[in-house]
Structure formats: C-alpha cells, structure tokens
Amino acid sequence: MKQFIIFVQKEFYHIFRDRKSLLIIIFMPIVQIILFGFALTNEIKDSDIAILDNAKDGASGEIIRRLDASRYFNAARYLHTQGEIETAFKTGKIRLVVVFQPGFRAALLHNNHAQLQLIADATDPNTATTITNYAASIVRDYQSDLNLLVQTPYLITPQIRMLYNPQLKGAYNFVPGVMAMILILISAMMTSVAIVREKEINTMEVLLVSPLKPFLFILSKAIPYMFLSLVNVTTILIVSVSLLEVPIKGSLLLLMAEALLFITTSVSLGLLISNVTNSQQTALMISLMGLLLPTLLLGGFMFPIESMPRPLQVVSNLVPSKWFFIIVKNVMIKGLGFKMVWKETLILFGMALFFLAVSITKFKTRLA
C-alpha cells in the first residue's frame, strides 16, 4: 500500500510538472465540444419504422406499402395502441413511427384533407430530420399520383414530432460522442505513453529489478489517468449543461458509473498498447490510429452505423466507444435507467475485464 501511494504521488508529480500536456488534457474537451458543434449530414438507409394504422383502409395501406418498398425504410413493427409508441422507441431499433388517423381514406376523399403523424427519435437530430423528410416526400409522391386522377386536389398534411430533442439540437448527439472520444484519447493514450516513457528513460529497468509488483505498477499508472478522465467527464457535463443547454435527463450517478467503466476499458487498452511498444511515438500513433479513428468512424456519432455495409457494422461491435455512446445517449438524453442499458454495460464490462487480464498477464517482468 505504501509503495502504491508513493508511486501514485510520483505520477502526479510527472503530470503536474508537464504543464503543457496538463493544459491540453484539461482544455481539449472544451475545444472539442465547440469544434463538434457543427454537425455533419448523413444519409439513412433501411431504417426500421413502426406503423400505428388506426385507419386500415386502402390509402393507409398504399402509403405503408410505398414506405416499406423504398430503400430508406423497413416496416418492422405494427402497433395497436398509442401507448405502444414510446415502448417501440425505447426497446427496439425503431427510428420513426407513422400514425394514421381513423378514417384516413374517407377524410382524404370527402374532406380532401387527411392527417398523418410522423414521430421520430430525435436523439440524433440529423437522422431524425433526414428520416422525416424522406417519409414526407414519399407521402407527397402518393398524393401527387392521386391528384393525376381527380380534379380537386387531395391534401395530406404530415404532422412531425421530434421526440426527446424537439429543438433538434446537434449537441444532443455530439456531447455523448465527444465524451467517448475524449475519454478514449486521454485514458488510453496518456496511460500508454506514461508507461512507455519509463522504458525510454530506462527507469523501467530499475523498477523491474526492484521488488515492486507488476500489478501495483500497472495500477499506480492507471489510477492518476482515471482520475484525470473523471475530471474531464465533469468538465464536459458542466459545459454541456450550462453552455449547450443539454440536460442530464437520467441519473447522474449512473452516468458517472458508466463513464468510470468506459474509462477502465480505455485504460486497459492503453496498458495493452504499452506492452507492445517501446517508444512514446509509436504508442501515440497506435492510440490515434487504433483507438481514436475507430471511435470517430465506427462509434456511431459521426456516421450512422445503420447505413454502413454489413461487415463494417459487425466490426463496429468491437469498438468500445460505440457501446458507451449508446449508453450515454440513453441515460443522459433519453433519461433511461440501468434496465435499458444493462446489455451495453455488460459488453463494456466484458471488454474491460478482457483487456485488463491480457495486459496484466502479458506484462513483461523480464527483458527477454
């Protein structure tokens, strides 16, 4: 225990005396959030939608057929009551619910005006906007086809509701994304660099000759960076709530606990990297290419995973950030409880355990 305290203390000396790195670590999250404030456009393919057809007549049937036939949508579920809409969003991969009013066709034919409701999951506002636009244009197509046959135009007015994020703020999407990115960067990169530095300045040799246990060494290297990462989570949350007005809808405690789990996963990845390299440069490169890039590309917050080719979708399951991103979105933005994210939590937990076990067993206590 004494060894551990003295080692952690030494690590903090390193961190606090390297002012430049410390400034980067502390201010990077803020800069990133500002940078990512400008969201990207994206196209959606084969989104699962649910139908609540209160009309069940020829007109609603035709619109459903057209939606399902388009390459954008896949009518995955048919709902029966208004109450099922919320559950459809929370449990399934449903991105859009189409609601037909009772007597849809009759209203259309007799009043020349019928209403149709499109409800989208707007935790990802870009996707939600795109999806509702696609759906609305399919409905318009049907409408203009009808109008060819008659003199008085029939009017269907789609009514759109953006669920969870009525103002369509990009921040609702990128705050969880930046959080995943910063944490994987700080925790994994800094931990791996901190260990590899000991190899570079030859103190590693002396430490290996000392009675210090490898497990203690790894733990004392990890703890300071886990602490810094928690500071970063707090900064990101404060900036998000105060400047970007993104609320924390779910439990803050659950959110912090999940963040800690993700940090542990990242730190274990950092340890793994430090095992395979002897120079800080290489450790940096591996962290950037091997961790940051997959997080950006396959994490789900820049490019929707649904529209990726199947093999990439499978690969994305190996990226820890993807699961953390889902968790943060569900807990922070949608306000869901642990019951709704236990699967993702379990996956992250498994990953952390696996990486930690591998890096501890692979840790070389000898030179060759």
């Binding site: 003295i6 030494k10 390193h14 030859n202 040799e205 000759v209 009675p211 030179l367 060759a368």
Partner: protein, 247 residues
Amino acid sequence: MNEPVIIANKLTKRFGDFTATNEISFEVKKGEIFGFLGANGAGKTTAIRMFCGLLLPSSGSATVAGFDVFKQTELIKQNIGYMSQKFSLYEDLTVKENIRFYAGIYGMSRRLIKEKTGPLLKQLNLLSEANMLVKSLPLGWKQKLAFSVAVFHEPKVVFLDEPTGGVDPITRREFWNLIFQAAERGITVFVTTHYMDEAEYCNRVSIMVDGKIEALDTPRKLKQSFNALSMDEVFLQLARGAKRAGD
C-alpha cells in the same frame, strides 16, 4: 566475511544461435568489490541481468544472496540494488523526491527515509540542491546520486553496470569513494567497467572475452601472471583474441 554472496556455476545465456555468456563460474564474497571486465559485447550486461532477475538463464545455476536465479527472483529483488549504464533517475522529480520514491518502492518506512536522507545529502554535498529538479544537476552528481539511491535501502549486493560512463576523472574518484564506503558497510559490490584504473580498485577482477571468463584473480596477481605493468596491458593481451565486434 567468507560466505559467498553470489555463486555462478556454468551460467549460460543463449539468444537463438548466439551464446552471450558461456558457462561462467565464480563466487563473490560478502563485502567484496568484484570487478567484471570485458570489451563491449563480451556478455557483461547479459550476465548482470541474469543475476538481477531481468533475464532467465538458458542453463547452469546461480544464487544471489542465497536465492536461486531461476525460481526466487522476487526474493533476489528484495536483497539487491541496481544501477544501469544508462542514467535512471526521474529528471522531472527533485533530488529528495527521487530518494523518497526509490526508497518507498523498496518498502522503507517514511521515518527511516527521513532519517537517512539528511546525512546522505550532506555526504553528497547536495543539501542546497535537495529541492532542485534532477535535470538541473551535472552528470557526475546525478551518477553519484543514482548510486546512493541504489544502496539507500542497504541491499546485500549492489550491481553496477558501467556506472561511470562519461564522467570526469575527479568525479569518478569520488564515485569510487562511495563504493568503498558501501563495501565497508558490508554491501557486496559487483561492478562492470571499461576503465582499467577502476579495475585496480577492485578486490578481485574477472575478465570476459567472447562470453567466457578468461581470467579471474586479484589485480596484483593478474599483473604478475600476465607479466604486465598495468591492468590495461592484462586486458589488451586477453581482449586482442576476441572475435566479437564491439557494439
């Protein structure tokens, strides 16, 4: 004084086809200063790393402080000090912090560390530099500090791998005074060096050529048997036959 602290018996390390150390055998007694000489690439560092538990020997046997280098490396680690040829203190830590860190790693109590730090700083003439970062010290001072840190926890044996590389003659002399003091306290000193004047300071010297120990005796007897005036000549006579190029 006569109990052996290091025993090596046909200790061998092979890397693939290359035999870095070839069946070396010797004993080092308590409190002895044992010089381990050899040209670059002769296998000195490999041997030292095997004794410290950094490398697993390929064959043969050895004990350090009574513990087996194959099975009891953790026990060995608690009983030795080590200073590598490359400088190994933390440059962004102060003199005091370095002492406290390494002493703490060896499990010394806070009280004992405090008690011993003052006299050590005084002895090294570093009292006014105690709270300065190590990177601001001259190399010679750093080396003396590194040695003092390596024996701070009073190990049974201290292994020094070319400790005086790049240091001026006066500082080297001061460095060796520290070694003599450590040996007087009963710490066995196992030291590799390139400097033949340093070899004269050792109680006994072994000379390695191409992974084998070619000569082992007191500097005086070595000079007699090789009919040489200095250790330099002894070394040259032996090392001239070496086949391995230096690294």
